[in-house]
């Protein structure tokens, strides 16, 4: 599955891992993240990510 990188801090969203800190299950595609999801490392919203 497509990984996405935060353009502000470089953190990478890996769908295989999800983001347990915000209740995101492993296997969740970036596109399916809720609108209020943000980068856990710097707080950037979804639209500040780009596909890796």
């Amino acid at each position: 599955m497509q990984k996405w990188e935060c353009t502000v801090c470089g953190w990478i969203y890996d769908p295989a891992k999800g983001d347990p800190s915000q209740g995101i299950e492993p296997g969740t595609a970036f596109e399916d993240l809720p609108d209020d999801w943000v980068c856990p490392e710097c707080g950037a919203p979804k639209d500040m990510f780009q596909p890796l």
Partner: protein
């Protein structure tokens, strides 16, 4: 209901958004001392390097907040808090009453006690205007000295080196990131930083910053003089507690909060870099956000959410160098063994218990190992023998 949040960094903004969502009919007022709308602080390094504009690290314009129904007071400095009257006073003379208050005033840079701090050309890096002022000043500089070999010092030195020919990192410690790295790791990292053009000066004690009308250099205790037209101080931060302290709210290092993130005065909460929970001031974006969301929940419905603590952030790069630090890297006592591998610009140290489960790890270079090690660390599975023997 009337919710007031003081401080528009990551904690304050996250809390204001959550308050808005949880209490659609309430007033939500966000007070921020800086004149620009909320930006993502980790991105200031890129602004300093000239790689990004402030607008590129600013997620939402001021109008976005207003559309959400968040009253956003920018450039307003909170100067006094009167819990008995439930009121905040601003430097502009305005008074803002609250029913529930969140203090998210963040942290401020520490400064050493040495002469010369007030000279033009001496900076700290915390705010957007700091980044822009440093950038402007650096245009007329050749040489910079960065005080401090922690995360911020190394990141800032690397950013400055992109446009200055000489950048010296003066570190009073024996190697960079001494809290996270052992001596070998620190030595390998220092070597990589030197390759990137930074002059690393460990065990350096600074005596004074010297100059006539502006910075001309720094004087070390050893007597050595290092010329520089720019000095950046990055020796750490401390929670910005003055507002709370003067209001009689209990403060240690940070504002003391309970598991509901409530301070010692009813109706007043704290979150982020200013908050001290169970003896800990986290100082990470992740913790600031998580605390802010719990605090907002409790401001709307008291006693409804307990903060469980935040797991450590996994930082994967410093100054452009791949670096993974997991768990306990320098443990004391207990049944354990270490596996080390080392090469040119490359260092791996795994700390294992007697069942080969990973307690901690340092990896410098070798980012191909990061994902697998993080998985093994989180799952607690034993490290496969093949992993330990392979090159």
């Amino acid at each position: 209901m009337r919710y007031v949040v003081v401080g528009g960094g990551v904690a304050g903004v996250a809390a204001a958004q959550r308050l808005r969502a949880l209490a659609p009919a309430a007033r939500v007022i966000l007070i921020e001392a800086e004149a620009v709308p909320h930006y993502l602080r980790p991105g200031l390094i890129e602004v300093l390097a000239g790689e990004k504009e402030l607008s590129e690290i600013t997620p939402y314009p001021k109008s976005w907040f207003e559309k959400q129904g968040i009253e956003y007071l920018l450039g307003e400095i909170a100067v006094a808090l009167e819990p008995a009257r439930q009121e905040i006073s601003l430097a502009s003379g305005k008074r803002i009453p609250y029913e529930k208050l969140l203090l998210a005033t963040g942290a401020e840079p520490l400064r050493p006690e040495i002469p010369g701090l007030a000279l033009p050309g001496v900076f700290t890096l915390r705010t957007a205007s700091d980044a822009e002022r440093i950038r402007t000043w650096a245009a007329g500089a050749q040489r910079a000295v960065v005080l401090g070999g922690g995360w911020l010092g190394l990141e800032a030195a690397h950013a400055l080196r992109r446009f200055l020919p000489e950048v010296v990192v003066l570190d009073h410690g024996p190697w960079p990131l001494p809290r996270q790295l052992d001596e070998t790791g620190g030595t390998v990292l220092a070597g990589l930083l030197r390759k990137k053009g930074l002059e690393m000066r460990p065990n350096a004690e600074i005596k004074a910053i010297l100059g006539k009308s502006a910075v001309e250099g720094v004087q070390l205790l050893s007597g050595e003089f290092i010329p520089a037209e720019l000095v950046l101080i990055a020796i750490g931060v401390r929670p910005r507690t003055a507002l709370a302290k003067e209001a009689g709210i209990a403060v240690n290092s940070g504002i003391l909060v309970n598991d509901f993130l409530e301070a010692s005065v009813p109706g007043v909460y704290a979150a982020g870099d200013v908050a001290e929970w169970r003896g800990r001031v986290y100082g990470t974006v992740r913790a600031a956000r998580e605390q802010a969301l719990v605090a907002a929940q409790n401001m709307v419905e008291p006693g409804s959410a307990r903060y469980p603590g935040t797991r450590p952030s996994q930082r994967l790069k410093v100054a452009g160098i791949d670096l993974l630090i997991l768990g306990e890297t320098q443990p004391k006592g207990g049944p354990q063994r270490e596996v080390r591998r080392q090469g040119e610009g490359y260092y791996v140290k795994l700390v294992l218990n007697d069942e080969d489960r990973l307690l901690g790890a340092i990896v410098i270079g070798g980012s191909d190992l990061f994902g697998r090690l993080e998985e093994l660390f989180q799952s607690g599975e034993p490290i496969p023998p093949s992993f330990l023997s392979s090159d």
